[in-house]
Amino acid sequence: MKRKKMNMHETLKRHWPKASQEEVEAASASVWKRIEAELDKHDTSLRSLYGDGWSAAPLEQTEFQVLTAVSLLGDRGTLKSITKMVDKWTGREMVGHVYLTLARLAERELLTVHTGPATANDEPPRRYEITEDGDRALRRAKIEGKELMTAREDLDNGCTERSGF
């Protein structure tokens, strides 16, 4: 029994289909070239091999709408102008949702908040601008098929706060 085991070891040591280090390195370079050619055929700018498969943050429907408004408005993005745009897409008053969503998006660094100079009677106006991560999140949402117009029942289902405005 023991002799048989030795034979198997010997057989494998002698006949294992070996590859020299040079061969492995040459093969590695050659295969990588082919893989790069394949990579060029695909848009992998938002993909990741890990996690949920994306290298961009996910967005909920309201977040998508608010962030799109911020993106479209550029440096004119204030709570008022953003809300006006989102109201149009949802067909209802969204100021509370927009306010909370803006805070959430800022926390996730998908947008930045700039405070303007204070005026005599009013609070200093806040302006919102999209970040690179925010832009990537928007691109992901578009690929996922998110739409700006929301059916009323969708909004009611996805609503996280009571409408007490």
Partner: protein, 175 residues
């Protein structure tokens, strides 16, 4: 509304991840694949297929748990598919000239039988055998490399050697 976008470093995330994965795992994947195909061209194709599939679609959840084990298994499966395709045994025979073996008929047959037997084994066992007999790793080193226990590797190697012996004897015996 759509404007031309300048690519950013974050757009390269996937490519960087793939590159890193490739550099870390190519060697073992290639050696495992070659132990099944017996020739370098099919081994290259096998490894390439694995990475092309990663590019084309998201890998299963097993990949996230243990990328190295997943890639080894995938390379082995691809190699096995190549061998089992229309070329099968005839191709293996034809490519024998490429292997650094003596022109001895018995040795040829032995190696041929070994390659055929390897293609019947579980991928992780072939990975273990590759590390043991090609890289000269100890059981402890194999365990560390493949994320297994030392005892598990010893047991698996013991069993797979017996199985390999049987598989090689099956078509007519090696003695």
């Amino acid at each position: 509304m759509e404007t031309a976008r300048i690519p950013t470093t974050k757009d390269e995330t996937f490519r960087q991840q793939l590159d890193e994965l490739y550099r870390e795992n190519f060697q073992l994947m290639y050696r495992v694949a070659k132990s099944v195909t017996g020739n370098k061209h099919d081994a290259e194709d096998a490894v390439q297929n694995v990475f092309v599939k990663l590019i084309q679609g998201q890998p299963s959840s097993n990949f996230q748990k243990n990328p190295k084990a997943y890639l080894c298994k995938a390379a082995m499966n691809e190699a096995r598919n190549i061998v089992r395709s229309c070329r099968l045994r005839r191709e293996v025979e034809a490519d024998m000239s490429e292997l650094d073996i003596a022109a001895d008929g018995d040795k040829d047959k032995l190696r041929e039988r070994l390659i055929a037997a390897l293609s019947e084994l579980d991928p992780h066992l072939v990975a273990m055998l590759t590390l043991r007999f090609e890289q000269g790793y100890s059981c402890k080193e194999i365990a560390e490399e493949l994320g297994r226990t030392n005892l598990g590797v010893r047991l698996n190697l013991h069993r797979v050697l017996r199985k390999l012996g049987k598989l090689m004897k099956d078509p007519g015996g090696i003695q």
